[in-house]
Symmetry: C2
Subunit: 192 residues, 2 copies
Amino acid sequence: MKKDIGKIPAIFPMPVLMIGTYDENGKVDVMNAAWGQVCDNDRIILSLTESHKTVKNIKLNKAFTVALADRVHVEAADYFGIVSGNNAEDKFERTGYHAVKSDKVNAPIIEEFPIVMECELAEIIDTESIYGIVGKILNTKVDESALSENGKVDVRKLDALMFDQFQSGYYTVGEKVATAWNAGLDLAKRNR
Amino acid sequence: MKKDIGKIPAIFPMPVLMIGTYDENGKVDVMNAAWGQVCDNDRIILSLTESHKTVKNIKLNKAFTVALADRVHVEAADYFGIVSGNNAEDKFERTGYHAVKSDKVNAPIIEEFPIVMECELAEIIDTESIYGIVGKILNTKVDESALSENGKVDVRKLDALMFDQFQSGYYTVGEKVATAWNAGLDLAKRNR
């Protein structure tokens, strides 16, 4: 029996994205964002409030990085969501984390996070229903320790966090249930 | 040490969204989509290829539902991603699943999936970098068995699947690591 619960945005899980930018003085800023998704093979879209320091920095540099936060870095990841770069000039330095400039775009890579996309600004979508930053992925960098023997990212090794917006929780990935384009094959064939 | 792996869209996890629509004859269609996200408190955006039957149906009815697939329904969820509604007129019927018309929008609710958003079409974003269907959430319905005592959705009870695009796997949610706007509070206060 289903119950009406109102206008609840019921997308689960959400990623825990760490968006890295430089400000006008070359200072590193990082923010925590959950409302981001792939929107094409080499594109991602981030829905951000325009007042964020990150948005100003992206407009300035036409570039940003997007990393995934992993379990061991949950404290800093959450901190990047609590404190605003508009109010704390030393926001990044407070964590003691380390940043290097990307060799692909004018944006910082935070060394502590295991995987990062280096993006240039493709477009800002600004309509009645959405304010979205679209990034073109130029390259992705990953810790070798997060790769499988087949050279692809292993999400169990990555140990990335996910966000539960219903109750504001961070979770880890659980067990593998099935392989896509495989689990439903019998059903597809049986009825052809 | 980080390794370059090219233009890999590295968002993890992704949701396993079941998009429900009616066609021109009132027949139910369901497709599986991973590239969807919340883009405002009552808005979601789905990046879909325009050729999908689902997109035609959404343009026709200006409405759709978005459910989350859970672990016990992984076979049908995957099947909804393998078979195209353009090629299989009985795509939905083949599963033996049950649909009822939403009381909020002209779109079907699939009874087997535990939570569903009832959406009207807000806008189609069609630019050089994105083709996105933006939905306005009018209401969300959830199985009472997925609710906590506080009346909010419990993601452990929901048992929703997530998608790993790196290696095309479906996973379940793991353990809770921390509470958001809390895990980073000490770090925020310590350095104020």
